[in-house]
């Protein structure tokens, strides 16, 4: 079990390192960083000076190795804009994104799982079709537009929730819904399929033969088995949500790393962008690893030894 985990951790680190290399290359080769920072009106000589000052005239791979070396020691570079260590700037905004991601995931799961169970218990009825329709509709809406519609409805027309900022819990409600609904269909379908499969299995028949009543069969016996792939999906989806929070955070002006990334891009603050990409990649591989571990934990058959 330990060796298995060790191999997975190694693989995860390798992936993260590759992502960092790719993003580094991308950012440094796709365009002229010095030019971007200096701005379109700067003189060529100034741009050249800036290039030398920031060390951008050295070969890319050498810069990457140096950067990686610093990263391993915890130094994620320094933000041009804030003149502060990237880790500090990011660290300040990360909790907001994590909160948003967690709430969004919670929303998606709380909505999807009961719907999925209901759809599985009454397959091919109006309830099932309704749930499937909702999920198809949900996936077709652009998230930014959905956010704006939510703002118009709950923020303006009904005046229930605040529109921008991240001070109170109420500020997170609409963003969490906007971010989470996109994952709801996937969870619902997975729960439904899993439950349908599980409900047809022999051990459910055994439970009924023991006289166990339906609610207990559904939630103790069936869901426990059907939920295993859902948990894995949850970890992976959280990773996607963290990476895809840019739009939501920007619309709702939540001071998380997504918003920070967008601001940094528009400000050409590329060390910060690079650091954010790396951190998001690390979070994603970490969550995937967690998903694997949770899988093993939840399914006794996977625990070797």
């Amino acid at each position: 079990m330990l060796r298995y985990t060790g191999k997975r951790v190694l693989l995860a680190l390798l992936v993260a390192a590759t992502v960092s290399l790719l993003s580094f290359l991308l950012l440094n080769l796709a365009g002229d960083l010095a030019q971007a920072i200096a701005g379109p009106e700067a003189r060529a000589a100034d741009v050249q000076a800036l290039r030398r000052q920031l060390g951008l005239d050295r070969p890319v791979l050498i810069r990457y190795v140096e950067w990686l070396g610093r990263v391993v020691r915890g130094d994620f570079g320094e933000s041009y804009y804030f003149q502060l260590p990237a880790s500090e700037v990011i660290g300040e905004r990360l909790p907001v994104t994590m909160t948003l991601g967690g709430l969004a995931l919670g929303f998606a799961v709380v909505l999807a799982i009961p719907l999925g169970v209901l759809a599985a218990v009454r397959p091919n009825t109006w309830l099932d079709r309704l749930a499937l329709t909702l999920s198809v509709v949900g996936q077709a809406m652009p998230s930014f537009w959905f956010s704006l519609m939510l703002i118009l409805l709950f923020g303006v027309a009904l005046r229930w929730l605040p529109i921008t900022g991240s001070d109170t819990w109420a500020h997170f409600v609409m963003p969490a819904i906007a971010l989470g609904y996109y994952a709801t269909p996937a969870f619902m379908r997975l729960t439904r399929t899993g439950m349908l499969e599980v409900l047809a299995s022999d051990y459910i028949r055994t439970a009924r033969a023991k006289g166990i009543r339906t609610p207990r069969i559904l939630f103790k016996h069936a869901l426990r088995n059907a939920i295993i792939p859902v948990v894995s999906l949850a970890a992976v989806q959280l990773g996607f949500m963290l990476g895809g929070s840019v739009v939501i955070e920007t619309v709702f002006a939540l001071r998380g790393i997504g918003f920070l990334a967008w601001e940094s891009i528009t400000r050409s603050d590329f060390p910060l962008v690079q650091a954010i990409v790396l951190i998001l990649a690390l979070l994603y591989v970490g969550l995937n690893l967690l998903a694997d571990l949770l899988n093993a934990l939840l399914d006794p058959r996977l625990r070797v030894g």
């Binding site: 299995s201 023991k210 006794p300």
Partner: protein, 316 residues
């Protein structure tokens, strides 16, 4: 629409084993599920009478049925490998059934579980409670299933081919176990099987099924030594019986195939394969003819009045 079971009639008494025997697809499993009220969603049950220990089960709503299941009516299924929930321990699943039907503490339930696991012959019973199903072999899992069926001391146990999926050596052990437990707990047992050898070994009474109908009933001695229905006779001719089949004797075979179950089948379902078939067999639905209490067969013609057709020449 399929009619997998068309005419079933039998009785089981305390402390006796009824074997329902028939080939695959004859509807024996469905009959068992039907008694327990465990038919799949798209199946319908219709019966004239279904009485258990004086209680009419036909009018009983699902809640009442659920109260009986596991408590006074228990079932053991054919495939032990998939019959247990893989995510809960053996102990959890055993305790669950007892606590569902009785007010007992967890500790008391666990004690009973250990007692029964021991009774069914599982070594190191106490430590098994914490184990998961995948850690046990098929034979052990089937024993666990039997223990689980006995947790509440049921009056009737329905065992659907409990040994078919197991090795022959384990089969013998499980059958002996069932017989011992039946004697000790004074339960009625309905044992479903396709194996005449098992019938000979454990049955007190037999009901022979063919294509959804019970075609003959009687004590095991009566049915095996003096079969009254053509199907039973043909079946026994196919099986070598130690002591009866002489060396070098040719074993029989039943030509043809089981009829389709789609739509309503009129007349005797065995007529296409019966050497005694007459045109009348296709026309009228055949009822049970009782020879003695509990001894009956389903044929238009009594054994003495049948004429065998000469076998048809085999065409190339």
């Amino acid at each position: 629409m399929l009619h997998p079971v068309r005419g079933v009639s039998f009785e089981v008494d305390h402390g006796e084993t009824l074997c329902i025997v028939g080939e695959s697809g004859c509807g024996k499993s469905l009959t068992a599920l039907s008694v327990m009220g465990l038919l799949p969603r798209n199946a319908r049950r219709s019966a004239a009478r279904l009485v258990f220990a004086g209680q009419d089960l036909l009018g009983l709503p699902e809640r009442g049925m659920a109260d009986l299941r596991g408590d006074r009516l228990a079932m053991v299924f054919q495939e032990p490998m998939t019959a247990l929930n893989p995510t809960y321990t053996i102990g959890n699943q055993l305790v669950e059934v007892l606590r569902r039907h009785r007010r007992v503490s967890r500790g008391a339930a666990r004690d009973r579980a250990v007692f029964l696991l021991d009774k069914v012959g599982i070594p190191a019973a106490a430590s098994r409670l914490r184990q998961y199903p995948h850690q046990l072999s098929g034979g052990l899992r089937q024993r666990v299933m039997i223990a689980m069926a006995l947790m509440c001391e049921p009056d009737l146990v329905v065992a659907d081919e409990p040994t078919t999926a197991l090795d022959v050596t384990i089969q013998a052990q499980i059958l002996r176990l069932l017989a011992d437990l039946r004697r000790e707990f004074r339960m009625g047992v309905i044992l479903i099987t396709h194996d005449l050898g098992i019938v000979a070994r454990v049955a007190d009474r037999v009901a022979v099924m063919y294509a959804g109908q019970v075609v003959e009933t009687g004590t095991v001695r009566e049915v095996l030594t003096d079969p009254l229905h053509p199907y039973t006779q043909a079946l026994l001719a196919c099986v070598p019986v130690p002591g009866r089949t002489r060396r070098g004797e040719r074993l029989g075979s039943i030509p043809g195939m089981v009829p389709t179950l789609i739509g309503r089948l009129a007349g005797c379902s065995f007529r296409d394969r019966c050497v005694y078939a007459e045109p009348a067999c296709a026309a009228t639905d055949v009822g049970f003819t009782a020879v003695a209490p509990g001894r009956a067969y389903r044929c238009l013609f009594p054994p003495g009045e049948r004429t065998a057709r000469p076998p048809e020449p085999v065409t190339a």
